[in-house]
Symmetry: C3
Subunit: 399 residues, 3 copies
């Protein structure tokens, strides 16, 4: 076996992640440090195998069901890519939002789509208090279906973005950081600024900033959350961040100044989001189908946003980061000033300089998703990775 | 070979189903008893292999084309699952209803989508006199295309629900019954009540009650069809049911009393449908694009339904069945009183008690569809099932 | 190895097509004669293998991304079939037209969808000066992404129809002609009439007539382009046709008489298209979102079409062709007089007589697309075709 794969396997041998077998992936902070490290190692190993033209298909047949309750191109393709990498066919569940109700219907639909399903990927991020809950309802239903013998296998749930966390995005972001800094051991004391940025659009989900502070506080980094007053995120996730920081020997601080957050930062993640309170309000308005109220709220939020049009990742701000060269992150697509909108989250010249690293950041997501599936399905990941390498089935065959 | 698979193969060895090779599946009553028994045996065998983690992929590549002229989640996933089980990729043909005209265009489209197609699954149940006819046009077109050398293979048609029958549903229902009663030999003299039930929705297809009486009269059971006056099904299918019952030593009777149907029944299948005469009328209104007429008809039908709101599968009625424990069937989704609607087809407590058996009932459909395809494609099913078991390619590989 | 496959390999051995490796397919006239001959030979070889039940899957996993900016059933299925033949799963990119902007966004989206993509097939034919340009932007983006290490592989672009050419259609048409005439060596001096025909619909793309005159002038044939005054195609493509004809020893002439074009023709291709000038005008109106202007233009064009309702491929015209039996071509669907419209491109009896050859013409397209992919991906196509034949993996397995 090649030494690179051996290194990943050695890494896995030193970790305890047996709790992932047969499980699901909801929130990063429900996983142990070892479990997250296992996801990173398997993601790197799968990528290494694929880039060595070695097939990583562990499924000869089987379905990966995708359920998107919000439009998505990037996440849809990431999920499809991950499924394809492992040998699963994607089958989209395209019920209208209204048709997928809660309770009885979730239980039924979850079983009806799962007779051949090994994985279910769900994106449901629009309504506070709903998305994560819905995912749990689905998992409860298929767990019961499997227990009752209705389903031959329990499909694994991968949270492709909920109202609380965006684990596949943040884990991909984190793996990118680990690679850029040459290893997780180099992150201690590094400063990362997760900051709000102005966008002319309304109602962007909170799952990215929440996911970032919930995850990145676990590696001994100094995590700063910056936003204008009124743009608070879920307090429960802030508590997670505080707890993580204390445990990891890093820190978690908050500020209302973008400049303060950027100052001396090694990594910056400027991105727009809607205030948590407003998202809660919106959820209630949708529940009441109050179209007038929704329209009024949108107007109010856009006006509120417009007061903070100066929250932009400019060249001036970037110059204040560590060596003027902080790693710039974004989950994409970004609102780029003068390109996709008049004034946005980031200056065109900054975005342009970081384009390749940004695309590389995104490139980890399919492998992170595949690793989450792999660890939930495979009893002995190390042995199975070895076996795949030994089988050496070409991903692409030519004579 | 394991003894369970051997038993299925022995069963097949005793049957004459050579007429299925190269064929299609339109209506159950166009198939011999042996042919239906072969579908059940192959479905069970494929399920057994998959649940033993043995790949049943007979196709290394190839397309399964799905064409739904009515919305569908369950049937769509069943078809996708069946195709996946055999190694086919599903390609949806999503032309608007209006674009798929009859005549010239059917012939052309059928060939254009079939260059790599091994299977075509069609659901077309909305218009009386149309759906089954359309399926035949498609089969005629691809048969001619194959004869002329345009198509390297003739795709197999699977009727995923037409205006006359719903063979994949009813065959799955039947296989469920066979399993629940411990074998087809235990069904003689059992009473099954196919009864109309109240639903607040309009225009549900007739294919399930018709399919049930057309199929379940073949096993020596006492089949009772119950509905309020005015909710007649196609008379031609009733004739089929009479003929079948006489031949099988069972009976086929009709009643306008739900209570009478339920009394002492071993199996009950309470489900709403629209009157045949109304469906015919609606078809003509659609042909004339008479929006006013359609609206008026809908109103009239809902009013007619509302007169029979007492046709509900209650605990009281269930208590009158054999030992108070009849097997409750439904093709799902059901209209559940107090859950999905105020008053519906079934009481919540009844539905709740039968949830697991209901999901199990549905779980047979992918295997029934796969078996129909298998028998149409494979010249020697017994030898091929044996060969798959001997190859023992894991469906899911892990070391 | 069987002698038929050996003949295709011998043919390839005599050709220089090494320039196709790693490349893309935009326009036929950007390819050398040898390169086009290689596409034909590989298409025939892949078809021969599949029809001999030999798997041609060179991909164990991988995605083929389809991006259609215009509705399509035929091309969508051709692309899906080609991908399936080689082992790729199709993933559709269904952004609304408005969402896929140019510039920054193209670059980003192209990379985001390509992490597992081996092929991208694009249809973008509606706007003059846009479609081909867009395809180049996509290729530039993924080439750069691959160079920067973001993408493990550079996906191959296949032009599934642009504003200039329709190479997969015209190459399929040409392979059909080659087969019908018993070899490319028999085409010298044959007369082919690419003529406009009346259709009651508006704004049909120019890519077929342009693709035909740009390709078919390369085989020593006498190519006649016929259309009413005002229905000119792109002058740049006419120049290509002139140049090709001179080089190949054939001819390229133009006429405003359908009768003249048909007279003594060996092959006729009567088909409607919109005037180039009108398409340019329409593109500008769309840019300005000038709904009124678009409506006015449509009205004007339909009126202009109606002046040429006599441009129909009638029995009388067919009788004037070589032996009264010219090969009739159409890319389908055709506007058939008295069938799909009152007056259209072709008489019903003519169309009816040529139905089987027309379907056969279409049957080459999946293989042409697969050959384009194969030649861009495989370094030694001859050795790989041999290896596939030797492996002899059944496309469809049965014992």
């Amino acid at each position: 076996m090649d030494s690179k794969l051996q290194a990943y396997i050695d890494e896995l041998n030193a970790l305890d992640f047996k709790g992932m077998y047969g499980g699901d992936f909801f929130l990063t902070w429900e996983k142990s440090d070892d479990e997250l490290a296992a996801v990173f190692a398997v993601a790197d190993a799968l990528r290494h195998l694929r880039e060595s033209n070695i097939s990583t298909r562990i499924f000869d047949s089987g379905l990966g069901v995708s359920l998107f309750r919000d439009n998505s191109t990037r996440t849809r393709f990431s999920f499809a890519s991950a499924c394809n990498l492992l040998g699963l066919h994607v089958q989209d569940l395209d019920e209208g939002k209204s048709q997928i109700a809660h309770g009885e219907t979730v239980r039924e639909t979850a079983n009806m789509i799962s007779f051949m399903a090994d994985v279910i990927g769900i994106r449901d991020d629009m309504y506070i208090g709903k998305g994560n809950k819905y995912m749990h309802e689905v998992v409860d239903a298929v767990t019961e279906g499997h227990r009752q013998g209705v389903l031959a296998q329990k499909p694994t749930l991968v949270n492709l973005q909920c109202d609380i966390d965006h684990p596949t995005q943040c884990m991909a972001d984190m793996l990118h950081i680990i690679h850029e800094f040459g290893g997780v051991e180099n992150l201690k004391g590094k400063k990362i600024a997760m900051t709000w940025a102005y966008s002319p659009s309304y109602g962007k989900p909170l799952s990215v900033p929440q996911g970032v502070i919930g995850l990145m506080t676990r590696f001994g980094m100094d995590v700063v959350l910056a936003h204008p007053e009124g743009y608070e995120v879920m307090s429960g996730v802030e508590e997670v961040a505080c707890f993580n920081a204390a445990r990891s020997g890093g820190s978690f601080t908050k500020t209302h100044s973008m400049a303060e957050a950027f100052k001396g930062a090694d990594i910056v993640y400027p991105k727009s989001w809607a205030p948590y309170a407003a998202m809660e309000k919106r959820t209630k308005l949708y529940e009441k189908s109050d179209a007038e109220g929704i329209k009024a709220l949108e107007k109010e939020l856009l006006k509120q946003n417009a007061e903070h049009v100066d929250w932009c990742c400019t060249e001036e701000l970037m110059a204040t980061t560590k060596g003027g060269r902080a790693l710039y992150l974004h989950c994409l697509p970004a609102d780029i000033s003068g390109v996709s909108c008049e004034k946005g989250e980031v200056a065109a010249s900054v975005f342009d300089r970081y384009r390749t690293p940004l695309y590389r950041q995104a490139s980890f997501k399919p492998y992170i998703i595949a690793a989450m599936i792999f660890l939930a399905k495979v009893k002995d990941p190390q042995a199975t990775l070895s076996a795949l390498a030994e089988q050496n089935t070409p991903r692409f065959f030519q004579a």
